[in-house]
Subunit: 604 residues, 2 copies
Amino acid sequence: MRLSKMLFVTLREDPAEAEIPSHKLLVRAGYIRRIGSGIYAYLPLMWRVLQKVSQIVREEMNATGAEECLLPQVQPAELWQESGRWDTYTKAEGIMFALRDRRNRDLALGPTHEEVITTIAKEMIRSYQQLPLHLYQIQTKFRDEIRPRFGLMRGREFIMKDGYSFHTDEESLKETYKDMDRAYRNILRRSGLAFRAVEADSGAIGGSGSQEFMVLAEAGEDEVLYTEDGKYAANVEKAVSLPADAEPSTFKAYEKRETPNTATIETVCNFLKCSPTQIVKNVLYQAIFDNGMTVLVLVNIRGDQDVNDVKLQNELTKLAGEYKANTVLSLTVPDEEAQQKWAAKPLPLGYIAPDLSDDYIAGSKEVSSKFLRMVDQTAVDLENFVTGANESGYHVVGANWKKEFELPKIVVDVRTAASGDRAVHDPKQVLETARGIEVGHIFQLGTKYSQKMGATYTNEKGEEMPLVMGCYGVGVSRLAQSAVEQSYDKDGIVWPVAIAPYHAIVTIPNINDTQQVETAENLYTQLNKAGIETLLDDRNERAGVKFKDADLIGIPYRIVTGRSLKSGKVEIVERATHNSEEVAVEDVVSYLQKSIAAATDSEQ
Amino acid sequence: MRLSKMLFVTLREDPAEAEIPSHKLLVRAGYIRRIGSGIYAYLPLMWRVLQKVSQIVREEMNATGAEECLLPQVQPAELWQESGRWDTYTKAEGIMFALRDRRNRDLALGPTHEEVITTIAKEMIRSYQQLPLHLYQIQTKFRDEIRPRFGLMRGREFIMKDGYSFHTDEESLKETYKDMDRAYRNILRRSGLAFRAVEADSGAIGGSGSQEFMVLAEAGEDEVLYTEDGKYAANVEKAVSLPADAEPSTFKAYEKRETPNTATIETVCNFLKCSPTQIVKNVLYQAIFDNGMTVLVLVNIRGDQDVNDVKLQNELTKLAGEYKANTVLSLTVPDEEAQQKWAAKPLPLGYIAPDLSDDYIAGSKEVSSKFLRMVDQTAVDLENFVTGANESGYHVVGANWKKEFELPKIVVDVRTAASGDRAVHDPKQVLETARGIEVGHIFQLGTKYSQKMGATYTNEKGEEMPLVMGCYGVGVSRLAQSAVEQSYDKDGIVWPVAIAPYHAIVTIPNINDTQQVETAENLYTQLNKAGIETLLDDRNERAGVKFKDADLIGIPYRIVTGRSLKSGKVEIVERATHNSEEVAVEDVVSYLQKSIAAATDSEQ
């Protein structure tokens, strides 16, 4: 393509809306254009990148025997009501766009396709002989994000590869799950990305096991904890570790102490000259279930530890049935406004005891009239500990479970693992931390959807059994941007060769020089014929502007038909290293063929 | 792909929802599956067809220098308000899905992308040096159809290629328009379809010139009128022709006659023993504009002619400014219920005179208090004509314009052309009729959108000028189904080779016969390696079932490893003709390579 014939517009200024480098660069270099909040147009250069990523994804998926299809984006509400996810996805913090058609029927824009594919499986799969089966699609998806940002990273419209597999049993599911793990690693390696596969929380999708694929980058929204030996890596939402040992208590006798202005762990430790590991911290949460019920949860945890909201939400979801609900819609530390809806009297915030009595709750139809109590395992073995006295400005010291305080029946692991913690698999290994961008997620769903939606098959004995399912997603547009986030410099984008929009750009420094133009035109034609995707900068611009633009858009190889032409050579500049080499005009095609093969081989 | 590993399910029964053969066949053969009204999943076989059509479209578009991109499907309402189309597209008969996000901002699901692309052009195009420019995308679009039907033909979610070009002037636009005409003919020819390019109405998209590409098929929703000499073809909505000559009047004097029970042209002709060409027929319409205003329109037309609603709507749209409106939302013949909203007294329906007096209108804030009168050119030259007397059961005869009736100031062509009419370009040519499925439409938009949205460029003299635009659409999913509608037989689908999901299917009649299986497996591997996309029917089914399925899904070549194996041969059956040939196993690849090349060559 000739730049003179393309929609080629680069900007000098960073766009006001952009916070992270990849977002700024993609807008400045003319790859994307904002149309609305979290909504972008993919301009021609970006579309080429997306097609290249899609093609790598497609090849790796097809190699596993998965079949490509395309499912509807507009989905009838009935399907989501059947699976029990309509309310979770459309109400409260729900992220699904809902709409009504001209006949007032509820519809949704698909953020994911478990419901649609399970319906198809239910209608089309009859027998174990049809299994296993794996269908996938590459498609634009929609999420009504609370805070769209970072360009394509957290958009309201984005491109995903989502696949769904169907099996007779868990064993068959695990095989496909393993295939997908391999396929996803191949996809990321072939795309030229540094990444880490980590244990993950299954979130609203549900199911038993799940793994995320993180592209490592400073601006990543996710924190990954991992060990040097490579044997453990997990999203912090899910990570487990061994906490530091608690220090022995310095308090021998139970006693209530006046501790003014000590509403934080730090202040009470200073005041009482004790370690945070000697404290039982009591944190109050307010959980709202999908049936509208509010449950107040008091969590006891060791003073040096923090509650991991995702783990706590998962523990509460396990208990949803007891409140006649399916799932937790929101989990928050109640502020004063929230408390006013149910508090019978002011709470002693900062001084709450492990057993806050139920008479703090006035209750109402929607609020459970008892505190739900849970203790994190870090707090279970503490003796003679310090904790709140249920009275502002007072703590107790030398307290013990089963003496002063009843130990909650529900013992859980809801603590946040942190870098520096010892690893569970080998206490000599210490957890390290990295930032990552989640670009892939694979799930073992089990029978969660097939049971709710009645999707069954007949086994060899003639019995009707629920289909066992897996689902597997790659964020195609997010992956593309994450490549930029991982690979740029002060001059612009540095695309991995495999997903760059073009391999090379032929730059004519002076379009009034006939020899420069002729050589460039010839090279442009030869390179494209040889399958090397090449741009031609034939614009009437200064050489400096052209070099800057080529660097900004990040094309891997720049061929300059400049001064060295008099000795029959052109300059070839590698974008990533800025290394420049003079190459005879007749050797340019083979030089680039070798370079591209080497660059994409090393990525594979 | 092996059928044993695919989602391969065929049905014996026609689906209840399907009315036309292509819809029945695509469902029965497992290509598509209904998820909701007008919403279909494209299963793996269908997806392959759609990808092949898309690839042909892409190649032809790229060959013209157009650049592929992808624009958002969710579009902010502001853009549509700017262009003035928000109300037309979302209210009354509007076909755009509207929705609200979590912040209550209005959004729409794009049925078309003039607004988005014009916004991008406005922001990115500065100078004439950037022009011409043509961007296109292949994308799922949405329409909240009043009556979704015929499978993918009139769905609520469908795949389109839509392209938009920008120019300095009309001349440059016309060049691209011509390129598109050629590209579209290539697309249809390469897809193996019989089609006709016809003059078309520009409808809600607007603009000056437009042309449709019709795939010819009995079940087509559109009627095409054309002449044998190939010099004229138009959609009936737009077609013009010469009406038959009027017979001279048999009434010499003006007179009112009692004509009981003659509310139709036929009955009054019988009663008065006159020709329909001697009558002025007066048809009352009710037009609702986008600002809510209702205008009553009385059209005078010759008795043997019919009013073409599309032409009339276009004439009314030209007058919209006089009613402070932009466009006509609906145009209907008012029934009794509609009349009650504005009629001051009962109308003499069937006996209306050319000049129905305004005192029939009681009027209201929303109803124009005068009849808008128009005369079709067929009625202008009549003399001593018959027409209604504005009194039930009475006509007048021997009437004349300017004597008994005022000739309306607005003279229009709103008559429906019909097969049998003489052609305008050559009265010796007679219009013939055919049914067609509209699969492509190209428009010269001019400055309609750029002026409304302020999209300008600076010309060579430094003046700011509105961009001149064109837009060009191909219904990708509709084209795919129209291929089936044009090409099937009693046994199933007969895909054109160029867009068939696979070229060939190797059928093993008996999977317990080792020689059959081995030969088939070898052929399957060899054929795929040679680039011939091949299925393997390795299912444990009777040969008859396999043959039936292969015919139903319409794969162009079936290779049967049956009895002739003992003489080293397989049977190759051509789907389209059912011709069968015995071919030596070692010649199968070259035999098919030749056949496929010939079939796709002849299509090109």
